[in-house]
């Protein structure tokens, strides 16, 4: 936009025809460039506008509507939020959701970082790196839900895990907490989402100049010092991207919690799905808006630690 005043001043200086025309050409070029970039970005703007921004606005609008047992009606009332913030269950459930997200984050980060580190620094040949990396993605060829449900026969009272432990004589009673428990939920989350940590961390690690590691070693740094002073700071953007993936996925999930806890635990997603089943769309929308705000705040905080744009 800053080019427009220049063009105006150019028009006001007829006594410098050459300079003016040159400037005019420059301005036109800049304007064309600007138009082109607007045109280029417009498909994305349209798609995001129609399929992302508009639905979210709709959810925000509906969250202020009222509902009867069968229908919803347009209104502007705060009843849904009032009930949401007035209920102790809401706080419990949000807390539980954060706990799930935090535990899952710790485990996926530890496992994901280790796997990525192994792939990037221990595997020497590029072929093997790619082969092993593809191996990590194989489970993703099946559906999320199938990978989750396959834990059920494994962890059950008469499942493989319990019978194996019983046969080895490690336990004399089947472990009840293996299935339909918070343990099972976190296990499934970690299993489902670790790859989302591996991929971005591996990606940033591959960009680390190996000579930096060598330089650190030559300067007398120990293995741990290289890790904490060179690799971790340089892999930060990947860690942060992976963390954003995992945290948002866990915060928004409801089906894993329902299946793996045997419906005995609740997270925010289940609150929303219960409301929808009972046709209470405005109340579901209000919960969704609060959840969205929470997740956005968390991501904003996470982005404070690392400037992804600068480091990529």
């Amino acid at each position: 936009m800053s080019v427009i005043p220049t063009s105006a001043s150019g028009a006001k200086a007829p006594d410098l025809p050459l300079a003016a025309s040159a400037r005019y050409r420059l301005v036109r070029k800049a304007r064309d460039g600007e138009r082109a970039s607007w045109l280029l970005s417009s498909p994305l703007v349209l798609v995001l506008g129609i399929f992302l921004v508009l639905p979210i606005l709709m959810i925000v609008v509906v969250s202020f509507w009222g509902a009867t047992e069968f229908s919803i009606y347009p209104a502007f009332e705060f009843d849904n939020y009032q009930f949401l913030f007035g209920s102790a269950v809401t706080y419990q459930v949000f807390f539980k959701t954060f706990v799930f997200a935090a535990i899952t984050w710790v485990f996926t980060l530890a496992i994901g970082f280790t796997v990525a580190y192994f792939l990037a620094f221990h595997v020497r040949s590029l072929t093997w790196q790619i082969a092993l990396f593809l191996l990590c993605t194989i489970p993703f060829w099946t559906s999320n839900i199938i990978r989750m449900i396959s834990w059920v026969p494994f962890l059950g009272r008469n499942g493989i895990a319990n019978s194996a432990l019983l046969q080895m004589g490690l336990i004399d009673q089947p472990l009840e907490w293996l299935l339909f428990s918070d343990f099972a939920v976190v296990l499934a989350f970690v299993h489902l989402y670790t790859l989302f940590m591996v991929v971005p961390i591996f990606n940033t690690m591959m960009r680390i100049d190996k000579s930096l590691v060598e330089a650190a070693r030559d300067a007398g740094a120990s293995g741990l010092q290289i890790l904490t002073n060179v690799i971790i700071p340089l892999a930060k953007p990947g860690i942060m991207i992976g963390s954003i993936f995992v945290v948002t996925l866990v915060m928004g999930d409801f089906i894993t919690v329902r299946f793996m806890s045997g419906s005995q635990s609740a997270n925010v997603g289940r609150l929303i799905s219960n409301d929808i089943a009972l046709l209470q769309y405005p109340s579901a929308a209000a919960t969704a808006v609060v959840l969205l705000a929470m997740v956005l705040i968390m991501i904003a905080i996470m982005l404070r630690f690392v400037d992804i744009r600068k480091e990529l």
Partner: protein, 430 residues
């Protein structure tokens, strides 16, 4: 009624279908009467749109209707929440509503359904008294909850109030009903189970389950609390806030003590929990028991001394039906009660509204097993070909009179429904 204009000119058949829909629309709206009489004479061009829950929306029924009556029946299966919503808010989207009685209680006041003239219903006199007087035998007491007899009749053709006694105007024609109880694994329990209270018996800690569908789950809870002697209910089907709090309180305590292995929401989940031995006692539906048994795993639909929690559904007519389509609807209902459907349903373990007519469509062995509670003389096979029992087996709970005579409570919708739902969510989150 919607007339799809895109169909026009595509083929002769689609034009005809469009025309038939147009006739329906015209007849339904009541604006143009008797305009396209050529088609109006021909019942074969009538299409009735029925929607309801999966239980009784059987494609075999639609096929048989086409065969016996000539007109087309379009079936849409939905879950019970969507059924309620559709019946209440989209009266023009259906001709026949296949809904449960408690849904009828919610939906009737909206005026979207029209009462049926019982004088046009051929088998009205033979309908089981459960649906008319509410008393199976003259000595019976009408059960708690939304008993079908309490919402089965209205005071006039345009009546909006439910009548206390049998009138000429019926709201729903009963189609399918059954008595529910707890399912158990006799091999893993190893002793007789006689009371609903056993669900919370610490003996089954970590091996019990209840269904996570609030409207039905709360009733099962109430049966348990009453059996334990912990709460005396005025009406289990219409609890006060205090009763809801107490009931949920008892179960929350049990949940925190680890009584429950899991809660189930879908039919398959209940089957898996039981078949895998994760759970040995739980609320269950009759076909789920059959599914467990068909895997060769012992499972009993245990009759309990406090009685059954029962449910029933029926067909209701949209207020938009009139003329030829209304006639077709009455014809359909009379056909429905004439026995073929009844036999089909009873061979699955449900009951039909007019049991006598079904008898002709069942073998003596089937009738004896399903209705009279006699030992089977040969293999019992479902209409879809699954073996449900072998010779010598007796139905859990016995005969029709023994089972339906012991109904303690019907599925219901409470005045405090929204409060109950919130409390239920708290229970799940606790």
């Amino acid at each position: 009624m919607t007339i799809s204009k895109e169909n026009k000119g595509l083929s002769r058949r689609s034009v005809l279908r469009g025309a038939a829909a147009a006739v329906g629309a015209a007849a339904g709206s009541g604006v143009i009467t008797g305009f396209p009489t050529i088609w109006a004479q021909n019942i074969k061009n009538v299409t009735l749109r029925q929607f309801g829950t999966g239980v009784s929306n059987l494609n075999d029924v639609a096929t048989k209707v086409k065969e016996d009556l000539g007109f087309t029946l379009e079936m849409t299966a939905l879950d019970s929440d969507s059924v309620t919503q559709r019946a209440a808010t989209q009266p023009k989207s259906f001709d026949i509503a296949d809904i449960e009685y408690w849904i009828c209680k919610k939906v009737w006041p909206t005026g979207n359904l029209q009462a049926m003239d019982t004088s046009k219903i051929k088998y009205f006199d033979q309908i089981s008294p459960i649906f008319t007087t509410g008393k199976l035998t003259p000595e019976s007491v009408v059960a708690q909850g939304t008993a079908p007899s309490t919402v089965g009749f209205v005071d006039g053709a345009d009546g909006t109030k439910f009548a206390d006694e049998v009138t000429r105007w019926m709201t729903l024609i009963p189609t399918i009903y059954n008595a529910d109880t707890l399912g158990i694994r006799p091999d893993l329990i190893g002793r007789p189970i006689e009371s609903w209270a056993e669900l919370l018996n610490p003996e089954f800690k970590g091996k019990a389950s209840i269904l996570d569908i609030s409207s039905i789950g709360i009733m099962d809870m109430a049966m348990v609390c009453e059996a334990m002697g912990a709460i005396q209910y005025g009406d289990k089907g219409n609890m006060t806030r205090e009763e809801i709090d107490k009931t949920i309180g008892i179960f929350t305590e049990a949940k925190k003590a680890g009584q429950f292995r899991a809660f189930w929401k879908s039919f398959d989940e209940s089957v898996n929990l039981m078949a895998s031995g994760e759970v040995v006692i739980q609320s269950m539906w009759s076909p789920a028991i059959t599914a467990v048994k068909s895997k060769g795993i012992p499972c009993v639909y245990q009759p309990l001394k406090e009685g059954y929690r029962s449910w029933g559904g029926g067909l209701g007519l949209s207020k938009n039906l009139s003329g030829i389509e209304l006639d077709a609807a009455y014809e359909y209902i009379n056909w429905y009660l004439s026995g073929w459907v009844g036999g089909y349903l009873m061979r699955q373990g449900y009951y039909s509204a007019v049991p006598e007519t079904s008898k002709e469509f069942m073998s003596e062995n089937e009738w004896g097993y399903w209705y009279e509670g006699k030992p089977a003389t040969a293999e019992i096979v479902s209409p879809t070909g699954d073996v449900l029992g072998k010779a010598g087996d007796v139905r859990d709970g016995g005969s029709y009179d023994e089972r339906m005579g012991k109904v303690a409570c019907w599925n219901a919708v409470m005045d405090e429904n929204q409060y109950m739902v919130r409390k239920w969510n708290e229970f799940i989150a606790a």
